[in-house]
Amino acid sequence: MVKFSAGPVPYVYVCTRMRVRKSKLIPREDYLRLLNMSIPEITRFIEETQYKKEIDELASSFHGIDLLELALSWNLAKEYQSIQDITPGVLKRFTQSYLRKWDIQNVLTIFRGKAQGMKTGKIREILVPGGELDKVFLDRLLKEDSLEKIVEALKGQSIYPVIAAGITTAIEEESFAKIENALYRQFYENLLSEATSGFKGGKQFLEYILLDIDMINIRNMFRLRADKLPEDASTIVIPGGRFSIQDFQDLISIEDEKSFIDALKSKVTLKPLLVLLDAMSGERSLREIEIDLIKVQLAQMESFSKMKPFSIHPILTYLEKKKYEIFNLRAIARGKEVHLPTDRIRGYLVI
């Protein structure tokens, strides 16, 4: 039987859809307007955008910040599922691998929530079932009453071995940071092996993964320096990117801020990042630096997706931008809830 290849058609189709969806994201001016609104006004505003269905569905059971939080989580999860449905072949495989990041986040949220004795409903509000573990599975995890039982329920999942190995220490130390680091290291290791396993389009996926790893490592360097805690770099650094464990350790052990920035500049080649590092002065807070790093990463992803318009890049760029739209809306809503000044909330937005 003759096998026909659809050629670039499925790529063009899905990448165009992603571009259209990206154009529908909330623009900067609207964020500035949202900053001056109350929570009911924000809810009404986003009801007029792509969140209408979720707000309408949930409005009878929830109100205020709960309604907003849940609608945003539902919308993000729905978006992730819908993208997995429309992406073809190898792009679907890459997208699913990328979305497994949410499995780690969801499971850790459940662990942390349970450890702190939070109500099940409250934990459910912030879960985003976008990865391999779906809503039903996460609900099953939420119903378990002890952390050990949650770990048992995870048996058979790719994240189980890492969690099973670290859970006893995590419960003793009352901190899941080590498990989190180990899970992310395993996640990126899997992504790297998938991108380099010879699938068509793997090269573009690898570009994104390396960028992501570098940006996470740089962010962690700034965090560790800000905390001034002596940490073992080998448990924190994500290998595979530009920074080896030794580089990472050397960089975080530089005490002087200027020397650290200079040393970091000598290691990176990404132009927007160099511009950002050039403009950095000692007065910047960690939060501002983190937001700037995210902006650099998004700008670079945008440029990748323009250079390779029919690849995994437009999909990943949209997914990341959508994620930050949800983060921004949450930041505004939570900031309004606790009556933070507008300028302060604005500082948390990635716009």
């Binding site: 670039p8 499925p10 063009v12 189709y13 899905v14 165009t16 969806r21 529908k24």
Partner: protein
């Protein structure tokens, strides 16, 4: 050489051969431009369907964009008609 090959051909045969060549030329003109249009429309069409799936309002516009490469095959058709008539 050419003269030697033509020896034994009647004027009717030569005329028929010329008509055949014209027909082949016309076929190449229409066929190749048709394939070129198809290749161009393939990408535009799939992008058009993608855009329409997200926003139905653009249907009219993308339909227009999809048929723009048709001009290539029309040029081919014109050349073919000029060759034949």
């Amino acid at each position: 050489m050419v003269g030697e090959e033509l020896v034994g051909l009647t004027p009717e045969m030569i005329e028929a051969s010329q008509a055949g060549m014209k027909a082949i030329g016309a076929a190449i003109a229409v066929g190749s431009t048709g394939l070129a249009s198809a290749a161009a429309e393939m990408a535009i069409g799939s992008a058009a369907v993608g855009a329409t799936a997200e926003n139905k309002d653009v249907f009219g516009l993308v339909l227009l964009l999809t048929v723009i490469p048709e001009t290539i095959v029309i040029f081919g058709l014109v050349v073919a008609l000029l060759l034949i008539f």
